[in-house]
Point group: C2
Chain length 309, copies 2
Amino acid sequence: MKFAFLPSPWEASVADLQAAGHEMVDLEQNPDMLVFRGGPKDFPDTLPESVKVVQIGYAGIEMLLDAGILAKHAARGVRFANAAGIYDDTVAESTLGLLLAVSHRHKAVRREWNQSQLFDETEFLFDNKKLALIGAGGIGKKLIEFLAPFGVEVTAVNRSGREVKGAVQTVAMSDAEAMAQVWANNEYFVLLAPLTPDTKHLVNAEVLAAMPSNAVIVNVGRGGLIDTEALTDALRHGTIAGAGLDVTEPEPLPADHPLWDMDTVVITPHTANIPRFMERRVGALAVKNWEKFASGEQMHTEVDVDAGY
Amino acid sequence: MKFAFLPSPWEASVADLQAAGHEMVDLEQNPDMLVFRGGPKDFPDTLPESVKVVQIGYAGIEMLLDAGILAKHAARGVRFANAAGIYDDTVAESTLGLLLAVSHRHKAVRREWNQSQLFDETEFLFDNKKLALIGAGGIGKKLIEFLAPFGVEVTAVNRSGREVKGAVQTVAMSDAEAMAQVWANNEYFVLLAPLTPDTKHLVNAEVLAAMPSNAVIVNVGRGGLIDTEALTDALRHGTIAGAGLDVTEPEPLPADHPLWDMDTVVITPHTANIPRFMERRVGALAVKNWEKFASGEQMHTEVDVDAGY
């Protein structure tokens, strides 16, 4: 098949598509597939009728959905696939790094040799800890694998409440009573959920107050899952013990924001996933998705445009 | 049995011994066992003849050996056990925390949003990495378990060259030719070896020069395993990529030492193991060791005083 790659191609991805026998062309040359890795403004206003599939080079498609781009072309029969799953391992490993950096109090280390402070404050994952995974898709499942040797007891929270392998229990996010137990009975909270009207400020002042005082939150999902002001207050007053934040609201977090100054908070600049890994993998995913499409099946990472994911 | 606990008891350990039916007494009241957690100066000059076993509350017994204390009492038939193994999980987890903090460039994060720097410089353990474990006892075996889900290829280095489970190969430290391959062919080096005349400054300028430029060293063994000046030079000149140091030479590292200023170096103040975990566990170990002794067997962590470990 022929594919176009907009707004500009990733070399590693193109190489994988070409190695599978596909040909890169311009959008005007009637491609079968568009591989797209830009934002809403980069998306072509019109697509040639030849384009049957759009492979998006990332997973968080909220902005394309909000801009009405997917709906518009889906109405014409174009099918969309995103890049969910190809960064499960990067994000899961980054999550573990944040969990350990916060628990082991790396940021509290002082040149003046505060060993006894760290002796008191260091916590270990292997020490009969309980962790709630808020959003338990592919990244969560990979994190469960990484956590298994530590014996961490994982509670999964997802939309459906459908059982997640490796979790001791799975809770549906809509079950308010069960969710109250989740907030109260875990020490670690890993936020991986997509941002929707239902999950906006999921972690607010009330939820923070319900957590135990040794709670640590790691957000590798979306900044808007947490009410930043409430989190800052909770950390300042010792309501909870720490946070690892790869995403924040606002993002970037202003350089003078008090969260930067807290040694209980480890921040990374939205780098839990890394573009060069995506570039290495999107080509292979596009090849597999095209095979599925060509054989009349649902693609591996096909987007349900109506459902919004 | 009756036990004494010197120089002063750890509550949690005493509770475990008492729960197993043993009685705490003073040294003068003819205990069967002495639980000892001090340094050479704290060791009693003479032990009552009733003392058959000394359970030491830590693993690194070099100082007691060097002071001749073990030999003196062993000559009289006293048997010694150390606390090897009861902090395998703390040190292994701390090691993983340092590996991830260095690889994920936590210390390079700037408030001024240096996302693209981290995109370029972040490395992942799962990304087909090779790691050499220098010293592959209990901690190393636990670390191999923690690393297994990442698919890290582990080469073990020990005294004997005897195969270590989970390692793709095991090299004897005395095999100079094989060791040259170890330094050249791994990206991660975890130092867990005891400090002996053979291992003093094992990582020196020559060894650092042999490592690949993306090499990361984590030292959770003894500070003297590394020539600090050579390491500082290697990091300053990019000969290697980073280091995680729980132990240093000298220790504490002076507050004005250049290693503190490098964002490629993550330092913890000798807190890979944590006393409160030892306190929780030494009692249970002493109980198990006494059972072995009482049934005429070798104790779980019996020290070979002649061999020195």
